[in-house]
Amino acid sequence: QQQVKQSPQSLIVQKGGIPIINCAYENTAFDYFPWYQQFPGKGPALLIAIRPDVSEKKEGRFTISFNKSAKQFSLHIMDSQPGDSATYFCAARTSMFGGTSYGKLTFGQGTILTVHP
């Protein structure tokens, strides 16, 4: 059962464009929503994260929008650059009320982003 659904699977934009990646979840035991960036041959690296009591968080060119009632969150990359080309994963953490799964990160399927010069 896929608990975090991510779309699109791939995305191509021109330099300066604003790619948007969307994620949806069902489990109300999630309490923390990070985004990870992965370059080929490397491990995922934490990019930005949000908690459900906040509707938006911005760090540099990266913004997370969070809609708790819809159980959806998205990543926006402003003024995208070729160096942003990577695979992006949304994730959700199971809260302490998740029992033996406390602290578990469930990942979305990933979005391959290509930014053309």
Partner: protein, 113 residues
């Protein structure tokens, strides 16, 4: 200095063999994890350890056995390797169980032939 280091980076082995992947973190974190990334890049947690204690054990075949000799190390031993075990295995660590700002290693690409 690498924060989370895994060895080896590449591992090619025959079906039926037993192999180990080692992981070490120098961040002073309490919690360590093993994740599996399949050919479609899907990342799934396998195990988590907190201060050497097993916390999360997903539905992983018991051919996979993690071992944590101390909180800075989490090794993964795989018995009787199968073709379907081919994947990239990532070790990760986070400060505490509740702080899941996980730092990932570079991964070990396991190919079973």
């Amino acid at each position: 200095d690498t924060a989370v280091s895994q060895t080896p980076k590449y591992l090619v082995t025959q079906m039926g063999n037993d192999k180990s992947i080692k992981c070490e973190q120098n961040l002073g974190h309490d919690t360590m994890y093993w994740y599996k990334q399949d050919s479609k890049k899907f990342l799934k947690i396998m195990f988590s350890y907190n201060n050497k204690e097993l916390i999360i054990n997903e539905t992983v075949p018991n051919r996979f056995s993690p071992k944590s000799p101390d909180k800075a190390h989490l090794n993964l031993h795989i018995n009787s390797l199968e073709l379907g075990d081919s994947a990239v295995y990532f070790c990760a660590s986070s400060p505490t169980l509740g702080n899941t700002e996980a730092f990932f290693g570079q991964g070990t690409r396991l190919t079973v032939v």
